[in-house]
Amino acid sequence: MSDADAFLRVTDVSKWYGDEQVLEDVSFEMDRGDVTVLIGPSGSGKSTMLRCVNRLAEAQEGSITLDGEEVLSPDTDVDELRREVGMVFQSFNLFAHLTATGNVALGPRRVLGLSEDGARDRAAAQLERVGLGDQLDSYPAELSGGQQQRVGIARALAMEPKLMLFDEPTSALDPELIGEVLEVMRGLVDEGMTMLVVTHEMSFARAVADEIVFLDDGRVVERGPPEQLFERPEKERTGRFLERIASHD
């Protein structure tokens, strides 16, 4: 790869569920340290696009390169890929039978091969990082939604990923719990984490994104820096979507 090449490059990715096309020639790219936010109406394919990057969903056409390596190649070791790409889920998906520490330590222990103690130490440090140093032994059901999602973030961070994927991380949260999760995410932005985020939190997107990609009907309608996309959208559809979102804010 050349140095000028993007860290993550998505090129003409298409995907079908049966006869229904859910992604159509989606392309965008991001550099190391970039924050890219995918926005769009529900059913527009944002989450599917995100999941294609760590192959939780399989794109049928196109190319995704991460650090110069083709992600979509049949030769790609998906477990290796996912080791390097952290994922945060809308519904948290914390391991229900494990404590916060257990949730965060599982990957380091079983995937990275750290010792039991080493994995616990790493888990504790990551939970500290998301402000949950006092909840190490709590089970998911004992935590609030915002705390659960922060454990989810710590779990992904514990693998020391080079890219973090956020799939609507605050959509399942009560409004008063959204702030603490966004705050943790802002902290990651400040640390220079490369982040690809699907969200409906427009003020967050506006504040932290380097680029916004607006998807509708599985296609990229428009993309650009937030100030341009939010203030002077080129496409009428973008404007209409943003207005609709704003009226719900």
Partner: protein, 267 residues
């Protein structure tokens, strides 16, 4: 008809081979509950044969333990194949389960003993007779067929997001199932497993069909010898069954509580 007589007839229904003994038992005159503790009661007969019954109980416990264990070792993977497998393995396992669940246990035992002819198994310290190994194999495989459905249901009941989250940190599919799904599924399997254990325990009595004298068969042997003590014998062995099921179910309850996943109030 007296209570003792109708009980004996009920017993003869399930143990057809012993019908002749039951007919004479029906002649017992006493009918009231007082009879159980009064002068007419014959608990001495039961106590004198306690060793004989204990030997039967031992066989019952051994058959149950071995069959449940075999059922778990075969049934758990079988349930997993039905949930996660595909193609031929899934069809084979599914088909075998349907056949085993659809065949009367007596037929399964007769096939194991007379058709397949399980040989004597030598374990060094003890040797297991062909009939006992056929009993374990028959009861165990049938239990596997039922246990596979317990585990199939509980494995499938764990949310897909759990598996996905496991994969998202780089666990292989097998590892994600092993470390994330299985521990949750096993916890949810305890109630179904309690049922299955109780059923296997009581169904061990059917090994009389291949000539084994476990607890219930030995009890029947006794009351056909002494038809004046039918109810005493039946109550005594029922009590043993009750203690065994009660103790094991409580132990499994404890296991369930001990490993319960804590639930908070703020979900």
């Amino acid at each position: 008809m007296s209570a003792a007589g109708s009980l004996a007839l009920a017993a003869s229904g399930s143990l057809g081979a012993l019908a002749s003994g039951a007919v004479s038992a029906a002649a017992h005159p006493a009918a009231s509950a007082v009879w159980l503790v009064g002068e007419g009661a014959d608990w001495g007969f039961v106590l004198r044969n306690a060793d004989y019954l204990a030997g039967g109980a031992l066989l019952t416990v051994g058959l149950t333990a071995a069959s449940i264990l075999l059922g778990f070792l075969v049934g758990f993977p079988a349930g997993a194949v039905e949930v996660y497998g595909g193609g031929l393995p899934k069809r084979l396992v599914g088909g075998a389960g349907v056949v085993l669940r659809g065949t009367p246990i007596v037929v399964i035992l007769l096939v194991m003993y007379f058709v397949i002819g399980v040989p004597q198994v030598n374990l060094g310290v003890a040797s297991i007779s062909p009939a006992v190994s056929a009993g374990i194999l028959g009861l165990g495989l049938r239990s596997a067929a039922y246990q596979s459905q317990i585990f199939r249901a509980t494995l499938a009941s764990v949310d897909d997001g759990q598996l996905e989250a496991g994969r998202s940190v780089g666990l292989s599919r097998f590892e994600a199932i092993r470390y994330v799904v299985v521990p949750q599924a096993l916890r949810r399997s305890i109630p179904g497993f309690q049922n299955e254990f109780t059923i296997v325990l009581k169904d061990t009595s059917i090994v009389f069909a291949i000539g084994l004298a476990e607890l219930l068969t030995r009890g029947a042997d006794l009351f056909t010898q002494r038809t004046t003590a039918v109810l005493e014998v039946i109550l005594f062995i029922s009590a043993i069954y009750f203690v065994l099921t009660f103790a094991t179910n409580r132990a499994l309850d404890y296991l369930g509580t001990r490993y319960a996943i804590p639930e908070g109030e703020s979900v």
